[in-house]
Amino acid sequence: MVTALTLGISVSAHAATIQISMENMVIAPLETSAKVGDTIEWINKDILLHTATARNGDWDVVMPPKKTVTLVLKKAGTIDYYCRFHPNMKGTLTVAP
């Protein structure tokens, strides 16, 4: 019980930065877990414009070629997302509260 409380406090004190890359028309990793308050670093390693667009409308990140764009996660949920320009590119982000 005490251990769980301690863990709870130390986890929420540090928001994590998590990297998701788009390279060679592939999202990696395909499935990512995060929590509210974490920052996603979307790294576009391709020569093309990509997006990370949440199907539920929560966010729509546009990533210019060879650039990294950050997104702070504000809402919990299991979010399927895709690239609007290359709809075969799909991933899932599970955001814990």
Binding site: N24, M25, D46, I47, L48, L49, P65, R84, F85, H86, P87, N88, M89
Partner: protein, 173 residues
């Protein structure tokens, strides 16, 4: 349908066999020219579609074609400039361009759903042909490593285009 099939077959044989049959494999300057020409052709087809379509999926697909092919072609131009290679016109590029002009004229006569179906069907066939040519001829024949790498990147992108086109085509049925 028969017209589209034969156009696709013609494109494949031009790219992979007949036009290159007379000699050795294509040189790097010829490969650069063929790849660039193939991209220019798809941008022109997309611009025709953007002018004619009112279907949002077709419009979205055509915008992707313009965006992606212009980006790849820009990379190709930057690369040949860096390598001091001058793209060399050749029979394959000429045939591709000639067929593309004929296809634009054919599609120009269509409108509405007929245009949409024909445009997307041709995009499927065209990307299949270009992907096949990249895999069987252009990539294996490329001597310069950076050119080969760019062609491989192009192949990944254009395979995605093929799938996207197939998906749009299915939605138009």
């Amino acid at each position: 349908m028969f017209l589209r099939m034969s156009a696709a077959i013609a494109a494949v044989s031009l790219l992979s066999g007949a036009a290159l049959a007379q000699g050795a494999k294509p040189s790097d300057p010829q490969i650069a020219h063929i790849a660039y020409t193939a991209g220019v052709i798809d941008v022109a087809a997309a611009k025709q579609a953007l002018a004619k379509t009112s279907n949002k999926d077709v419009k979205s697909f055509a915008e992707d074609m313009v965006r992606d092919h212009e980006a790849v072609n820009k990379q190709a131009l930057d690369l040949v400039k860096k390598l001091k290679v001058t793209p060399e016109d050749n029979d394959t590029s000429k045939s591709l361009s000639k067929n593309a002009t004929a296809k634009l004229a054919e599609l120009d006569k269509l409108k509405g759903a007929d245009f949409d179906k024909a445009y997307v069907a041709n995009e499927v066939a065209y990307h299949k042909a270009v992907d096949s040519a990249l895999e069987t001829t252009l990539i294996p024949s490329a001597s310069n490593a950076e050119l080969k790498s760019l062609l491989q990147t192009g192949l990944k992108i254009f395979q995605g285009h093929e799938q996207h086109a197939e998906h749009v085509a299915a939605g138009l049925k």
